[in-house]
Symmetry: C2
Subunit: 492 residues, 2 copies
């Protein structure tokens, strides 16, 4: 199996596409730009959802559900948002099909069933949610309102790629309302930290926290916080955003509250989201030419046990021990699968689980039974060791923890090696092509310079890192003064 | 609060609508026919989802995700299905908005962005899923394929009611493929039992398992299994369906598999689903004129603790004890909330939690501190008792279990009292209006009779109960021979 995978150096993009399909994560559907998330891929997404949902609830948020459709007029209410977002989207204009009178078995749209007002399939839900919040918020006692929604959204993308950019995708969107500017900013920052924490501890992906430049901000936000990750091909990927919306949506939808002093004021808002795009980041951060590499914290199967045998008697003896080990691991809360299929050879299974990124493989054969051992293989390092069955569970727990750490450290080293400080535009352009990664450079703060650099190199400002040190310098492009470096990169 | 609720005898339908909104379950949105599921309502739905998901996984199913849109031509593939289903639906015809050249700030649908083929927002996913299964299934080794999807679907209903009938609703849809007819039938039956088990053990709703008559079957199914519940107003509610699809969809989408003997054959299918409609059933089965009554197994808050105090000192002392009790209950896995708001009086809180159906309320005041007691109030019976703080956790666990049982038994008695055997059509018509409920009657098995009865009385055949005893009789309407009784009722 793995031999059929294009290598990363050969064609990174092809490697990614092949891997996503062959590892049973997702595939293109018969509907333009829409993907099917296959059971194995969905199981990983479910693990992500579970953990994120736990983190959202721990920070005081509740889930709710708002309509899929947004009437066109609601989009017009928040002009900046409409300007930036609502253009490429799926539009419902009719509500009935009827039998084609001219062709038996065919259906046509009933022209008499035209909607009075077109409905947009939500590309994001600020409009519908803020129009609802208007009725939910009267006084400071109703604040803060901390709500999250797990939903599908649609953006009519022309060029799509599995997980990274699809017309329909799954995500969560938090929408909160607060009594003060400070509290809303604090919330936006908090959720950025929650995302970073999740990315690093669960996905084993190191991220840089920062602010978007005004041109890269969410339309309708006053400030966009983001976390940026680096893929193995040296391109950046925005892994999550958290927006401080100011009073923009409150003003657009007339959401006011009476303060403790009785005075009316517009409420302050935030919104924040991560999507199935994270699946793409996960694949591109850790996987290799043999297939997927999954961090144990998100792996649907953490350990697979493969029996080695030549006869039915051997199969029976090996299986008995394998079941014993499986039960033991389950008692330690490990997600283990004993692959007892007799229709497939061990070599086939080894390849399959390598391709699917199962962190640990245990092989057990007749020799092992004699010696009281098993063979343990790590997916991340592709190393093997012989281990005693005695105490196997604690060893496995340790190894899974080690794999989780190793993946993070490896990705972090790679990322750190690919943050390059550059002071001249020519150096930047050269290294952007030869080395890739993030470039810490001075920028004059203008949208004009930013756009020119983008046009000339395809690199964008990924973020203004929160932890940057202020230092006087000159913009690498314009030579004008700058107060500190920002991070440029080509990005997904 | 509760005093503002219309009573059930006064106007059952109004009572329901008011309750759903006032108990913070859901509300109508600014989008025709679409509801907003509010955080409290969504928390109950999440509990349902969790348990159903666990049951699906226990029975070998995996989750996956398929596109929201179905191209029109896919609907045409399965004619019977298209005939029965696809007519009233949301149709996407365009993919871009643009600024209105005539009116600043307004948006219009870009006429140049017309889709070549219209996309239907899924009313159900058989078509898209079976067109995908075609590529997933080649041999008997790929079977059974046991997949479930949690998703939103849209059916353009003209008259909508919160939870019971909305244009968009949330549901799960299982879609399975099997090598034999017998296995597919076994799967359809198994899932009906899973639904019944869930309804009875978690929702405390007794259900009747049965088969739909051909006219009430899902279009495209060979057999539809269902569970039917009875609401307090004597109307039935279909709480879940499980369809044996035969080879209908396999033939429509050309899904064949090679058997062990190498011969090609069409696969056998099932599909099964329950939706947010269950929320409506939950409300209408247990709630009363004071508000919601929730079974403890699904209550987001199982126990609420309300402090009684007159001074800051009393508040401090009472709160300390309340926190202690709360911690103790949490250690027993009980979902408990200590409502320590000082902005609201105990009476207000009592009303609020009564309205929201919290199964148990603990009130604790200065006298209780002296006596080492609390006041315990049951939502279902509206009874109160004084209980010792010592051993409170085990008492609460017992009481919650008792409440769960009591609710089921009460609903079961009501349901059983409302299954009436009738032998004449005039008796049926009279009791249908005066008593309501299910009517066990002989039917000649023809669609014609079924339709006439429906036209004349609005009652439909809810199901042919699986456990019915075969007995020769004569149809109450036509006088023709019948082999056993079926259940008629008016239904939601």
């Amino acid at each position: 199996m793995s031999k059929n995978l294009t290598s990363r150096t050969q064609d990174y993009s092809k490697w990614y596409n092949e891997l996503v399909v062959k590892a049973d994560l997702a595939e293109n559907s018969g509907v333009r730009g829409c993907m099917v998330i296959k059971p194995y891929g969905y199981a990983i997404w479910e693990k992500m959802q579970q953990e994120l949902d736990r983190l959202f609830k721990e920070t005081g948020h509740s889930n709710a559900y708002f309509p899929l459709f947004v009437p066109k007029s609601m989009f017009e209410a928040e002009e900046t948002n409409a300007e930036g977002f609502a253009k490429e989207c799926a539009i419902v204009t009719h509500y009935r099909l009827k039998n084609d009178p001219d062709q038996k078995g065919k259906l046509i749209v009933d022209p008499n069933a035209k909607l009075e007002e077109e409905l947009i399939v939500r590309p994001t839900s600020e409009a519908i949610i803020w129009s609802t919040y208007k009725n939910w918020i009267q006084s400071y006692r109703d604040l803060p309102l901390l709500i999250n929604q797990w939903a599908n959204v649609v953006r009519w993308e022309m060029r799509t790629r599995l997980f990274l950019r699809t017309a329909e995708f799954l995500w969560q969107e938090g929408h909160t309302a607060h009594a003060t500017r400070e509290e809303a900013i604090e919330e936006s920052e908090k959720m950025m930290h929650v995302y970073a924490d999740f990315a690093e501890r669960f996905m084993a992906i190191p991220v840089i926290k920062g602010l978007k430049s005004p041109s890269e901000r969410f339309a309708g936000a006053e400030e966009t916080y983001c976390i940026e990750a680096l893929m193995q091909d040296g391109k950046a990927l925005q892994a999550g955003t958290s927006h401080f919306l100011g009073q923009n949506f409150a003003k657009a939808f007339d959401v006011k509250f009476a303060g403790q002093d009785g005075k009316l004021d517009y409420v302050w808002g935030t919104s924040w989201g991560v999507s199935t795009r994270l699946m793409g980041a996960l694949v591109m951060t850790h996987s290799d030419d043999n297939g997927l590499v999954l961090p144990p914290n998100l792996a649907p199967i953490q350990v697979v046990i493969v029996p080695i045998y030549k006869s039915d008697e051997e199969y029976a003896a090996v299986s008995a021990k394998a079941n014993e080990i499986s039960d033991q691991l389950k008692r330690f809360g490990i997600r283990v699968k004993f692959d007892n299929r007799t229709t497939h050879k061990p070599g086939f299974k080894f390849n399959e689980y390598e391709l699917k990124g199962v962190p640990l493989r245990i092989a057990i054969g007749p020799k092992d039974l004699e010696n009281g051992t098993v063979e343990l293989a790590r997916r991340d390092t592709l190393t093997k060791e012989v281990a005693a069955v005695d105490g196997i569970a604690t060893l496995v727990v340790d190894l899974l923890e080690q794999i989780q750490q190793t993946l993070f450290q490896k990705a972090e080293s790679f990322r750190n090696e690919h943050i390059t400080a550059v002071d001249s535009y020519s150096e930047f352009k050269e290294l952007l092509e030869t080395k890739g990664g993030f470039f810490a450079a001075h920028w004059d703060g203008t949208a004009e310079t930013e756009e020119r650099i983008k046009d000339e190199t395809k690199a964008t400002i990924r973020c203004i890192p929160l932890d940057r040190t202020l230092e006087a310098g000159t913009c690498m492009y314009s030579g004008k003064p700058s107060i500190g470096r920002v991070l440029f990169a080509k990005a997904y």
